[in-house]
Amino acid sequence: MQFELEISLKTSKKATFPIIPVLQRFEASPVYLFLNDGSSTELDRPGAQLRHIKGYADLTFIKDLTTAATSLRRIKIPPPAAYMRRFMPFICAFGGKNAGLAFTSGTSSAVDFITPSICNFEPLFFLRCCRLAPMNSQRMLPQTCFLLLALASCFSLVGCTPNIQYPDHLLAEYRAQKEVGNDYMDLKVFVASSLSWLFGTIETPTLPDDLRSDLHLSDVLDINSIRRAAGPVGRNADGIESGVFRKHCTICHGLGGDGLGPSAMMLAPYPRDYRRGTFKFATSGQGKPPSHDDLVRIITDGIPGTAMPAMAALANDPHFKEDIEVLADYVVFLAIRGEVERRIWLEFIPELSQEEMNELAKVRDANDLTLESKQQLLDIVQTVGERWRNLAPTPNSVSSLAFQWPEDLESEKHAEMLASAKRGADLFQSETTACVQCHGATGNGDGRLNDFDEWTKDWTFRAGVDPRNPEQWKPLKRLGLLKPIVDQPRNLHYGAFRGGDDPYLIFNRLANGIAGTPMPAIPRIESSPVGLREDQIWDLVNFCQSLAFEETNRSEL
């Protein structure tokens, strides 16, 4: 039978929900009308618009409909329930191809309602359905709002419990893989098991001191502090806080101190990767890691012009005053752990024979580690741990020359100070110090501007990768590493001394250099014929400080 059929679902006194566009959705299915006696009638192409429907309707009504169909042009099916109208766009949109239109009225039991599925959700079709349904805004908007939120919640809950563990040392793995081959990747489980055996897990870290008596890491680290810093943020029933590192630091420095926290890519400079064991601002001497006090100072004072905040508020709060000490300990712990991991990849594994590697590739947990490999691992820990022991600030022999700018401008030492700064200006321009090469002739930091940050060279130029070459950079980018940024020498006129503006700290940076950056240590006259004396370095300190207050002193200098 042929007839033009336009079905609309009557929804309320004011609005009618047209289901024709909805029905257009379902293709390749003929239209069936199910009858009371169990038989079904197929509607043969009832019209250009209504081509496909596999629906269920009130049986009695449909039976009447089929008898009268030849002369029928418009059918109005009363809605079974009010909610059908409200949720029809959702049902149709979520149901996708498999959605049937389930109409029911009265007590009919022949209804098979197809459950909507989020997997079938098609936003454009959903919007179309919404657009076609003349909704009563007063009713629909809050409902839509809640449904959208429920959707968002469902999506958010996918993978609700992320697996929290120390991230792999991707760079070390990459370098190992690049130098020797893919076989190294089989050893990932061995490395993870070894580190777990030595340092525990991220939730419950341990120190390897119990494994061998000569390690003495507990001289450097307080295990209670480390456990307070690690783990999830919270407070136990006794009111003791935990997860301090995750609370304050992870967003930038990452869970394992790899400098790959969530926000890392958006920051300039990038957050520090502790695992290299190199820290810029240390007073413990050239090439040495920072002392505990250095770390406490940086954490407390922050670093100007960077995302590293000052945590002085914690130090001043009696409830949180231990947090900074705890954080400093945990930073050292992560640095030691990371350096051990790095050495395992870059020093221990490359020295293995193929047979030994095959053996280690079979390791599945710490129990599979052989006695020999355990001893070798502990040797690495001892070597790394030794670097962090007996760190003390360099003695300051000429502190009397350290002036406090600009307070001392009015003091009796004014003339002496200006003379010192003038001598420092000459040294700044001299070839001995070569300061102008990077900081520029005027100290604006406009000298060398085309080199990359020294921190990244470990895994770029030293690993044979030029980050400016897209092809060479691509594999590192896939690993999720941060693209190196051009190193910017400091503009001394700003007075922004990131490692601290205390004269003693500036002296230390000049005398010992800044680890991991192109800033070298100034050679001493005692060890080099072209070096400087300590008082000359103090002259440079005073010159650097005078630049920060140049406006005040321009005429006199």
Partner: protein, 356 residues
């Protein structure tokens, strides 16, 4: 008509209590924002009690003099419980016979939503789940939206009930008879030309923006930097979309002269103001959280040090979140007004004239 007049005190009461709930939810959102900003969500490890005490019996002296995160978290819980009590009072008043069924149901829905929100907060603590904190943070402003909607309902029920039986044409005719000069303007009211759809898109965008912003606030420590950057860019994109839509709706409503556009004008004006504030707060939020990437531009930027959990830092970040929830509510109310304008605007206008 007489019945409607006799029910007016009940509408006044429901309006009062619904206003109380809505007004109290806003500081609750602030407190919730402070909890997130200070990472205080787990400052109290148990729920519904506080360190073994009943929520209401936890010693005030310990609460006040304890750690700041404990102060914020316990305060948030107390305020939440207070809002719940207010919502119970609202339902009790609304279920008086004289209020409409719709108002009663929405009041009940509000109470249920507040209870669910509290339960969600409790689950976040007991399950130690950052992801649930994210959902809790998203649903908070929606409960605020629901409360605001109940306020609107309680204030409008009567006038809508009076005019329900009148058709738009009848209103037009009547209006023309009352005030012939204004008849042309009245017709203009029906010609919203998709204004209500613009506002709907705007309102939905604010929801997505809310979810995106909450994802940034509650970023998992395992989130990859590239993922965080993508979310940040999405946040900025939606901020741009919302700003443009706000300007469009603002201009479209404020160029209308008919009096029944006033409601839309008020909301769009407020929204425009809030968006301007929000853009400033957003920039400031990034600055106090992550500093400026171009610190070498000026001496001030180069020497600036952010203070962790400093007063202004905390207030700026929390303010950005709280203003976001206000934007969400305002945009939905604007959308509601726009839809009403397209469907019932003339009717309401007529009713007001009749009443005056």
């Amino acid at each position: 008509m007489l019945d409607q007049h006799s029910s007016e005190p009940f509408y006044c009461r429901t309006r009062f209590w619904s206003l109380c709930v809505a007004i109290t939810i806003f500081p609750l959102i602030w407190a919730g924002g402070l909890v997130t900003t200070n990472d205080a969500g787990m400052a109290v490890p148990d729920w519904p009690g506080t360190f073994g005490y009943n929520l209401f019996l936890y010693p005030i002296s310990t609460w006040i003099s304890g750690p700041y995160d404990l102060f914020v978290e316990h305060g948030h819980r107390l305020l939440g419980a207070f809002v719940g009590l207010l919502a119970i009072a609202l339902v009790a008043v609304a279920f008086a016979k004289q209020t409409s069924k719709k108002l009663r149901l929405w009041s009940l829905a509000l109470l249920i939503a507040i209870i669910c929100q509290g339960l969600l907060g409790g689950v976040r603590v007991l399950a130690v789940q950052q992801r649930i904190a994210l959902i809790h943070g998203c649903t908070g402003p929606l409960v605020f939206l629901l409360a605001s909607y109940v306020v609107v309902l309680s204030g409008r029920s009567r006038s809508v009930a009076i005019g329900d039986h009148l058709s738009s044409q009848a209103i037009l005719d009547a209006e023309t008879a009352i005030n012939p000069i204004d008849a042309s303007r009245l017709k203009e009211g029906f010609m919203t030309r998709g204004f209500h759809w613009w506002t709907t898109i705007l309102a939905l965008s604010t929801i997505f923006q809310l979810i995106i912003g909450a994802s940034l606030r509650h970023a998992e420590p395992t989130l990859k930097p590239v993922g965080f950057m993508a979310i940040t860019h999405l946040h900025l994109t939606f901020a741009t979309i919302i700003f443009v839509l706000t300007v469009v709706t603002f201009l479209r409503s404020w160029t209308k002269k008919a009096s029944y556009w006033n409601e839309a004008k008020r909301y769009s004006g407020l929204l425009f103001l809030l968006i301007c504030v929000q853009v400033g707060l957003g920039i400031a939020t990034w600055f106090v959280n992550y500093a400026w990437p171009w610190s070498g531009l000026t001496a001030d930027l180069a020497t600036h040090v952010n203070e962790l959990k400093g007063f202004w830092e905390t207030m700026i970040v929390t303010g950005h979140q709280a203003v976001g929830s206000l934007i969400l509510v305002t945009s939905f109310l604007l959308s509601l007004a726009a839809w009403r304008l397209s469907q019932f605007g003339a009717k309401n206008h007529f009713i007001k004239q009749v009443r005056t």
